[in-house]
Amino acid sequence: MEQKDILILAIESSCDETAAAVVRNGREVLSNVIYSQIDLHTLYGGVVPEIASRKHIEKINQVIEEALRQAEVSLKDLDAVAVTYGPGLVGALLVGVAEAKAISFASHLPLVGVHHIEGHISANYIEHKDLEPPFICLVVSGGHTHLVKVSDYGEYEILGRTRDDAAGEAFDKVARAIGLGYPGGPKIDALAKQGNADAIPFPKAKVADAPYDFSFSGLKSAVLNYLNGCRMKGEPIVEADVAASFQKAVVDVLTEHAMMAVEETGIRKLALAGGVASNGALRESVMKACEKAGISFYRPSPGLCTDNAAMIGAAAYYEYIRGVRHGMDLNAVPYLKLGEK
């Protein structure tokens, strides 16, 4: 018997993108609308939570209406409403959660709350129709650095995580220190292309008792110390070399840990996810390592790496068919843990 299509409206407002999408059967994106607030936050050198929340409430209906229009569906064609309920900025999350609950209630549609990181991981399902668990996923973004074993749909085991700064956070801080501004990731990525990645040997931190864990604050301090040292000694700073060497230190550690996980678990599939997964150097480094080791490599295209609602719709589908439903008391959970229901 042919299964009925499942259409899900997904809403995402955990940080500074107001997004809505309509996704069919978790893999086919009918629409994916994103209103990015990045220009607004650039004025402040980073995301300002209160401003983000204010923009979300201004734009959310337009974004949802546009997603429905582009998908050429109305609410009565849908099977569920999905929304990111954590982790993220609580005020920002609450806008999406309250909106989704009201739509769910008024349209008599089931509500599915989705973990933001599960969304990032699930972005891989959209363009890789063949990808199925189990696989290893390296999730890297401005707020998160996780090495995850995806055992099954909706089943996650965290192998390693950052002990301090997220990788994307380190990019932002280093970018600020060398005067590149916000957001740091794409700017460092671009500048690093003109620099020598072996010019400055920055440290690659290991966490003694947890081989999969990451630590980036030592690296960030090393870059800041290097810059201060140069300034005090009156030596010239080659920003492109700093950017390239810093980026290499991050990318090498991420790649090494991911490959170690693949080897030790025997799971011969590796996926990237999260905003930093759109970083050119990281993609190339992991891809080459996978080629060398004969591992299947997956990554979303850059537009699906950064925050979007299509990935939430993809994750929601697998939750939906597992029977996950949330009530009208669903709350935003800013520090929601992966795999926690």
């Binding site: 209906n61 999406g96 009201a102 009530g327 709350n331």
Partner: protein, 235 residues
């Protein structure tokens, strides 16, 4: 005419259904749980109890601010989601006006106060004239000192209400030179019934907006915007 109304601007969460001049249901809660956990379950409950066909609603009224920024957005996003799904307009009701409606017929000065932190209150000055609410000073964010001066200058007996009362009661007692009193329980906090009542008046006057247009009225910039504006002024 039928309206669903919600208020989550302060410590109270409240939802009501108004049909013409009759409140079919009202559910008001002032307890520990967050608005995100209470508001929708409350609305769901009163809709179930009144066997409400949501499509029979003419509009969604929401207390639009001022108030807690997060609280306002929970109310607004709820109203916007309902409006979007039902294809119904939203009515943004000024929070302080709705608070003043608790004291129907009172011809003294009515002064709702909400704690706005930083020694300020969200407030306004009202009275009832010919059975309708008359606005003497529109809702605003001011210091308690400035508010007391304003009331003293008007020289009228004043009734206070709102969640700012427990915070600023003693301060007001010291500052006021006019007779004053504090409204009792049942009439001294936000109630969605009052939002619904004003909402109905707005609806009849055609003062509605689309769910997409609606947004809260904070009466204050965010801290980051304020600091940035101050920095620019100094430069």
């Amino acid at each position: 005419m039928k309206i669903a109304a919600i208020d989550s601007s302060g410590l109270v969460a409240s939802a009501a259904i108004l049909q013409d001049d009759l409140i079919l249901a009202e559910y008001t809660l002032c307890y520990k749980k967050t608005h995100s956990q209470t508001l929708m379950p409350m609305l769901e409950e009163i809709c179930r109890m009144t066997e409400l066909d949501l499509q029979s609603l003419d509009a969604i009224a929401v207390s639009k601010g001022p108030g807690s920024f997060t609280g306002l957005r929970i109310g607004s996003a709820t109203a916007k989601g309902l409006g979007l799904a039902l294809g119904k307009p939203v009515i943004g009701v000024p929070t302080v006006d709705a608070l003043a409606c608790n004291l129907f017929g009172v011809q003294d000065l009515i002064c709702p106060i909400m704690d706005a932190r930083r020694n300020q209150v969200y407030t306004g000055l009202y009275t009832f004239e010919n059975d309708s609410l008359s606005v003497i000073s529109e809702q605003m964010a001011v210091s308690v000192n400035d508010l007391a001066q304003k009331i003293n200058a008007l020289g009228r007996k004043t009734v206070f209400l709102g969640d700012g009362v427990p915070v600023y009661k003693d301060m007001l007692k010291d500052l006021l030179t006019v007779p004053f009193t504090f409204a009792p329980a049942g009439q001294n906090r936000q109630r969605a019934a009052c939002v619904a009542r004003l909402g109905m008046q707005y609806l009849l006057e055609g003062k509605t907006e689309t769910a997409a247009e609606h947004r809260p009225e904070y009466l204050r910039l965010s801290q980051a915007e304020r600091e940035r504006a101050e920095k620019e002024k100094q430069c």
